[in-house]
Structures are given as C-alpha cells and as structure tokens.
Symmetry: C2
Subunit: 222 residues, 2 copies
C-alpha cells in the first residue's frame, strides 16, 4: 500500500500514488485555520486538487487525514529547539536563545491557528491534546532538567525546576500567543522586548546573588 509509492513527485500534479502526500499537505492549512469539525471532505478534496472519492481510497476517513497532518506539524515543532543549545554561552545567553526560539515558533504562520485548533478540538477528541502533549512535554522536561542542573551547580536557585520552566513560558505566552488567541490583532510589545523582559525577570528571581561579577543585572530595560 504505502511502500508502493515511488518518490519522484512530478511538479505538474502528483499522480499515481502521490495523492496521500498531496492530501495531507493541502489539509494542513485548512485544519489549522478552521479546526477539525469545520472542514468538510469536499473542501479537503478541492484543496488537494483531487476527487472526493480519492480521499476515501487513501484514508479510512476524515480522522485519519487529521491524524496524519498532526504528525507532520508535530515533527516541525519538535525541531524548534535544536539539541546542544544548553552549552552555548552563559545562563542568560542560553535562556535568551530558548526564549527566542519559542517566540519564533509562535510567530510561524499557522501556529496560532494550530494552537487554537488544539484547544478547541481537544474537547471532542482528547487524543489531540495527548498528541500535542507528547511533543511539548519532552521539551519542557529538557528545559526543567537544564534548570535543575544549574541549580546543582549553584548558578541558579530553582527548588522546583518544572514550575520555574512554566513560569518562563508563561511570561512569554501571555504577551504574544495569548492575546492573539483572543482575537487581538497587534501584539503588546515586540518579540525582542518580550524575550528580553522574560529573561531579565526570570534571572532577577532565580539567579543566585553571589558568584562572578554579574553583568546580567546591569541591564535594565535594555
């Protein structure tokens, strides 16, 4: 079934086995924008440039298309924080890097719609939230592990690293993702400012006052 797909993918129109790819690809922006319930199979077929019936030849139903699309997007998100960034520069530098990557993720076209979709459709389909958590949890755990590690080294003081990690992302979300989710158009501040403020506030709280002439506290409002 699936292994019979030859990988040439002609530029004109993906015929002969390439339809699965084309369908999932076309489904992505649609599901992102409108959610699971509000996208009909007709729209899906039109967007993919494929007959309605082909959808049912390639997939068991609407839900399987949605699942496949979710896998694609998850893979994209998973790659947002590349491995090894924990070793670049000092604490402030690493935190700024992490915050920047998260902000960049939020700014990706369609990510907002994706988030909205997850919140909305998890009601009817709890497995959506689970799939999303399966992507986000490892990232948060990695972040928390990093904070715990720095605490052991007496660079930070985070008695509850996972809690602190959520505070960090909370500071980021509230001024970018969250307002947009509620239908706001413009952001409250530039992405750079949000990142700077988040790192600054986090360090003000968790950085141990002792140890090496702290250049990080010298900066106030950039």
């Amino acid at each position: 079934m699936e292994d019979s797909i030859s990988l040439h993918s002609s530029p004109l129109r993906a015929r002969r086995g390439g339809s699965r790819e084309a369908i999932v690809e076309a489904a992505e922006p649609l599901f992102m924008k409108n959610g699971f319930g509000a996208v009909s199979m007709d729209e899906l077929a039109d967007a993919a440039g494929v007959a309605r019936r082909t959808l049912y030849n390639q997939f068991a139903g609407k839900e399987e298309i949605f699942r496949e699309m979710l896998l694609r997007v998850s893979a994209q998100i998973e790659g947002a924080l590349p491995p090894g960034i924990e070793t670049r520069g000092d604490v402030g530098e690493v935190l700024r890097l992490i915050a920047t990557e998260i902000a960049r993720l939020h700014a990706r076209p369609g990510y907002l719609g994706f988030f909205r979709m997850v919140v909305a459709d998890s009601r009817q389909f709890p497995w959506i939230a689970q799939a999303f958590a399966a992507v986000m949890d490892p990232m948060m755990e990695r972040f928390a592990r990093y904070l715990g590690y720095l605490t052991e080294l007496a660079i930070l003081y985070c008695p509850n690293p996972m809690f602190a990690a959520h505070q960090f992302t909370g500071l980021l979300n509230e001024n970018s993702l969250w307002p947009m989710l509620m239908g706001r158009e413009g952001a409250l501040a530039s992405a750079e400012d949000v990142v700077e403020e988040t790192v600054h506030m986090f360090l003000k709280r968790y950085q141990l006052p002792i140890r090496k002439h702290s250049a990080l506290n010298a900066r106030d409002r950039k």
Copy 2:
C-alpha cells in the same frame, strides 16, 4: 414582551413567563462544556425542562440564547475584582489579593470550559472574543493603572504598566489555567503556591530597591 414577566419564579416549574430565565440558566453549563456548535436545540430544551418549540417562542434562535448566556457569565466575571481593593495594605498585600481573586476565578467550576469555549468558538464567531475582551480589558486596564500609579509614587518601577500586568497574569495562567486547557488533570502546584510565587517574582523585578525596610523580600519560598 419582556416587561410582562412577573417575578415570582415558583419552585415547582417556572411557568408563565419564567421560561426565558430557565432556558438561559440551563444553557450555561451546556455551552460551557461543549461550545456553541456542539449543543443542539433538543439538548437545550431537555436541559431547561421546556418544549423545543418554546425556545423559538422566546428567542430568535440558538445564537440569541448563546449571547444571553455570555452576558450572564460576563457579569459574574466582572464581579471577581471588587472595587477598592487597591487601598488595602501595601503593594505585596494588594498584589496577593488580586492574584488570589484571579486564581479563585480560574478555579470556579465551569470557568475552564468557558475559556476553552471562547478560544474555540471565536474562530467562527469573532464577536465572542470581542464580548470577552469587553469584560477583561477594563480589569487589565485597572490593574495597569494601579501599577502606573505606584510607579509615580516611586514604589514600583513599571515603565510599561500594561505589559507588566500581562506578565503578572501570565505567571498565574501558565501554571493553572493553561495546563488544564491542554487536557492535564492535576495542576503543577497548589493555587496558594502559584499566587505566592507570582507576587514574589513580580516584586523581585519591579519593586524599587530603596524605600522603607522591605519586609517583602525577607520571604523566600514562603
């Protein structure tokens, strides 16, 4: 039409004019839990203990019922922060009071579903987000005004009070509302701890180091 409603509301069954009330009241938990699209008029009628046809006698359609329910809930939320709390105690005390009230609001049964509903259905009906913003914005503005006032008094240093206010709520949301929204069951920390940590972190960042022996910084992790 509406002014003909006599206000007796018999305990047996709200007959004779009381049906509007009963319908909106019954609609509240339903719309909260399932959102606008996923509630049928039949369910609505059953829940209100009223004939399906009566819904159409009292309301123009499903949307009007929803709108009326939204007004009810908004009124409840609006009363969460009673006026005059800005004068009780010092900064830390007031912030703790505000945080506690917000946390209490989040913990209200159904509030989570309400939030989810707003995020979900604002996609199809932008006026939902607007109605919600009409309730939340004044509260945030009041909070920001308070922070600006304290900055003028040189008690805090908040160059951007609205931004700071959102940071405050962000710290609160991320550890309670947000995880639940994504299908998590248990919270990451107790509501009290989240409140304490939020106030602590906020003051660490924005309280001016000078002025009167600060008893607020003496407390670390409660």
